[in-house]
Symmetry: C2
Subunit: 305 residues, 2 copies
C-alpha cells in the first residue's frame, strides 16, 4: 500500500575520514523514500529549487518514487554541510542554508491524500502537522524529530507527536525529550505522550522498539567499513515503515503486529547499514531487494540462539 514521505530534499556537503564530497543529493525525505522504495510505492512531498539536477530527479523516479508532490520553485535547494569525527559517532554542522525550504508549505496532490501510510521526516513540527491534516484514510503515521525541535519548540512538537502512532528518535533525543537518562524509562515516558510505539535508534549499537506491553532490541550490523553515516537514521525509518506498508500492517490484531514490528526494525537496520557503505545515496544506485533480504537473514543468523 502506498506511503507518503514528507521532509527535506537537499544537497549535502559531507566530510568523513574516508573522503569528502562537496555537493551530493541528500535530505531526510530522499533517504527515507529511497529506502522505502524497495518495499512499497512511495510518494514524496518536498520542495527543491531550480538548481535541482535532472539526474537526481531521475534517480528517484528510477526507484518508482512518485514526484508529483516534489514542488519546484525559483531559488536554491536546501543545502547542508557537515563533518564527521574520526569514529563517525558524532558530527559537526558547518553550514545550513534553508533556501527554498524556508517558505515551504506542503500541499499534497489529490492522489496522495488517500495513501494509508505516512512518514514525517525531521522538519518543523507545525509542517509535519500540516501534512497529516491533509491525509484522509491513514492506517499508520509516524515520524522523526531532532534536538532543535525538542529544545526550542517543545509545545509544538508535543502537540504534533500526540497524533502519531510511532516516533522514531535517537538515544540522545529520547533522553532530551523525556528527561530520563535510562532508555527504558525514557521510552515509557514518551509512550505517555501519544505514540503507542517508540523506536530508539542507537547508531552502531542497533535499535530498540518499545510498546506498553512489549519491547524488542536488535544489535547493530557490523560493517567492516563505514564510509558515510549520513542518512542512515532516515534509511532506517524508510525500511521500517516500508516493510509495514508492504505487508499492509494494521493496528488491529495486536498479536500478529508485534512480530511484524520486530521484523520492521530489522529491515530498518538492514537499510541503515547499506546506507553507510557508500557516500550519500550511492549505495541505492546498485542495491537490490535480494541483497536486502539476504542481510535480513544474516541478522537472523547472528542474533538467534
Amino acid at each position: 500500500m502506498s506511503l507518503v514521505v514528507a521532509g527535506s530534499v537537499a544537497y549535502d556537503g559531507v566530510e568523513t575520514p574516508h573522503g569528502r564530497v562537496e555537493r551530493m543529493l541528500g535530505g531526510a525525505a530522499t533517504y527515507i523514500s529511497l529506502a522505502a522504495s524497495y518495499f512499497t510505492q512511495v510518494r514524496i512531498v518536498a520542495v527543491v529549487g531550480d538548481d535541482f539536477a535532472q539526474d537526481d530527479a531521475d534517480l528517484l523516479a528510477g526507484r518508482n518514487i512518485d514526484l508529483e508532490g516534489l514542488e519546484r520553485v525559483p531559488g536554491k535547494t536546501f543545502f547542508w554541510e557537515g563533518k564527521y569525527t574520526d569514529d563517525m559517532n558524532d558530527r559537526v554542522t558547518l553550514r545550513t542554508d534553508l533556501n527554498v525550504f524556508a517558505d515551504f508549505q506542503p500541499k499534497l496532490p489529490e492522489s496522495y491524500q488517500n495513501a494509508r501510510y505516512l512518514l514525517l521526516g525531521n522538519i518543523q513540527p507545525s509542517l509535519q502537522r500540516t501534512v497529516l491534516d491533509q491525509m484522509k484514510h491513514l492506517r499508520l503515521v509516524g515520524g522523526d524529530t531532532m534536538n532543535f525541535w525538542i529544545s526550542d519548540f517543545r509545545g509544538e512538537l508535543l502537540k504534533t507527536i500526540k497524533r502519531w502512532d510511532f516516533l522514531l528518535i535517537n538515544d540522545h533525543e529520547a533522553r532530551l525529550l523525556s528527561g530520563e537518562n535510562n532508555l527504558r524509562k525514557a521510552a515509557n515516558k514518551i509512550l505517555e505522550m501519544g505514540p503507542h510505539t517508540v523506536v530508539i535508534k542507537r547508531g552502531e549499537y542497533g535499535a530498540m522498539l518499545f510498546r506498553h506491553d512489549a519491547y524488542f532490541i536488535v544489535p547493530g550490523y557490523l560493517l567492516e567499513n563505514i564510509f558515510d553515516p549520513t542518512g542512515a537514521g532516515d534509511c532506517f525509518a524508510g525500511g521500517f515503515i516500508g516493510y509495514l506498508a508492504e505487508h499492509g500492517f494494521s493496528l488491529e490484531g495486536d498479536h500478529i503486529s508485534r512480530g511484524m514490528l520486530s521484523r520492521a526494525v530489522i529491515y530498518g537496520s538492514v537499510m541503515g547499514s547499506f546506507c553507510c557503505e557508500r557516500f550519500g545515496v550511492d549505495r541505492f544506485r546498485t542495491l537490490t531487494r535480494e541483497e536486502i533480504d539476504a542481510r535480513f537473514e544474516e541478522f537472523r543468523k547472528f542474533t538467534s540462539f
Copy 2:
C-alpha cells in the same frame, strides 16, 4: 564438570551515583566464581590476608565453591577503590593496594588439577600461565585481561593467550590489543593470536562472539536501575564458562558447539545484568537459578523476530 577459577579475591571501595560502600567483598575471581557457581562446581585459586572475613568465606562456601585453593597468608587482602562517572560507563581508580597479592604464586591443590575447565581472571599474564601449567586434563581454557597488560606486558600476554581457547575482552581492550578500530577487524586479528573464540564485551551495549567461521551478537539487557557495575564483566565470564562447563562443552562437534557458545553468551549477559542490580556481590545473596533461567527466556523474547 568442575571449573577452576584463578584471579583476585579483594576488598573494594566503590562509589556510584547511587551511593558509596567503603569496603566490601570484590575481586575478579570472586565475581567469576559466584556467577559460575549457579551452573557448575567451582574451585577457586587466589590469595587473601588474615583480615579476610569469615562472613565472606561463608558466602563463597554457601555457593558450594571449593576454597581449598584460597591461600591465606599474613598481611592484608588486595584492596581496590574506584569511583564511577554519572552515566556509569566509565570509572576512575582511586587506590590499588596489592598487599598479599604482590607475592602471590598460585599453587593448585591436587584435587583441582584434573578439572576440565579453567577461567583465568585478569591477573599478570605470567601468573595466568603458571596456573595453566598445573592443569592436567583441560577441555577448555580461557580468560580475561586488561589495558595495563596489553600496553606494558604485551610479549608476556601474547605468549599466554596463544594457549587459550577463548579470550574475553572489552571493546576498548580489543582495539588496543589488535590496533584495529573496527571490532570485526579487531576480532579477526585477535583470532590469529591463538584463541579460536573471542568474546567482546560492550557493557550496556551487549556482547559479541567471534570465531573464524561465525559470529554472534547480543544487545545488553535493559535494566531500569544500574546500582553498581563493578564485577559485571567478571560475572559475564562466570556465566559464559559456567554454562559451557555445565553442559560438558567440547571442541569436537563444531556444529553443536556454535549454538552452545551463543547460549553461553546469553547466560554471561544474564549474570552480568544481575550483578549490576545491587552493590558489589549483594545480588548473589538472594539470586536463584530460576531467576537466571527466566531472564534467559526474556532475552529470547526481546531478541527474536
